[in-house]
Symmetry: C2
């Protein structure tokens, strides 16, 4: 048993981007959103591929989730649309409270296969989340450490 | 001016894999090589996508380099074969001596465009290496921080 949290799809605005700066994985994706906002190339409330959990008015956990089209699927059998999950991160002082699991469960709720690139030493976490490793393939995976989640009836694609 | 180092294409054998364990970015790629060795699925001296520098008989720096075919090129104009560089890493006590630059220069010597996914806070390093950022694209780049190197006559592909 663990707590229920409310997961929101994050709006791209200056407040969100300011909150993103507290996350270690702040990078090209966030900088690009910031530039687009500043140049008025996107609306102040556009939806982002980010989902997050707020606690006390503060963003404490987030992840990015994106649907990859079936035609690019090299992980799952039968080939199908799947979710790529990245930048799953919980602020240090909020870790161990089930925020990470709540985000992963939200991703699973679409009932599509999920693929993520695990950080070093993340094997135990992804294993607890029900994710599995796949057979590493240099051309497909390069420097990644792929972990995948199979919904019922889905298995690993043989390359 | 900096020192000249000898860059070697690394052979996959138990000695190399044992040395790889000292590098932070040890992951699915290395585990897969180890399993293939143990199962006799690869020769003890097969070439790997890794290049490295030895000092005093010890592997002190490495990177992985892989040619991506022109048909998958979404970074460069005109589209062409390019190199994907990953796991560039110098053991902590050997940093600041030009090993990283020597490996990057080796990658450049093929005179193909290069793309890498920069770690957090690696902007200054890649900039010093002559690499540039590209316009971030969610579908292509997802959680990556792409840095690219353009040989003469090559520019960024407009998506």
């Amino acid at each position: 048993m663990y707590k229920q949290y409310t997961i929101e799809r994050l709006k791209i605005n200056f407040k969100t981007l300011e909150e993103f700066k507290k996350f270690q994985s702040f990078g090209a994706q966030e900088l690009s959103m910031l530039e687009d906002l500043e140049a008025n190339m996107i609306e102040n409330d556009s939806n982002s591929p980010f989902y997050g959990i707020h606690f006390g008015g503060k963003l404490v956990a987030r992840m990015s989730l994106y649907t990859i089209s079936q035609k690019f699927d090299r992980y799952f059998e039968p080939p199908q649309d799947y979710l790529e999950l990245w930048k799953l991160e919980v602020l240090p002082e909020y870790q161990g409270k089930g925020y990470g699991r709540a985000l992963v469960d939200f991703a699973k709720s679409f009932n599509l296969p999920i693929k993520t690139n695990g950080r070093n030493n993340s094997h135990d976490f992804w294993s607890k989340m029900g994710f599995e490793t796949v057979t590493y393939n240099t051309e497909r995976d390069r420097g990644e450490n792929p972990f995948v989640w199979f919904p019922k009836g889905v298995s690993e694609q043989t390359l």
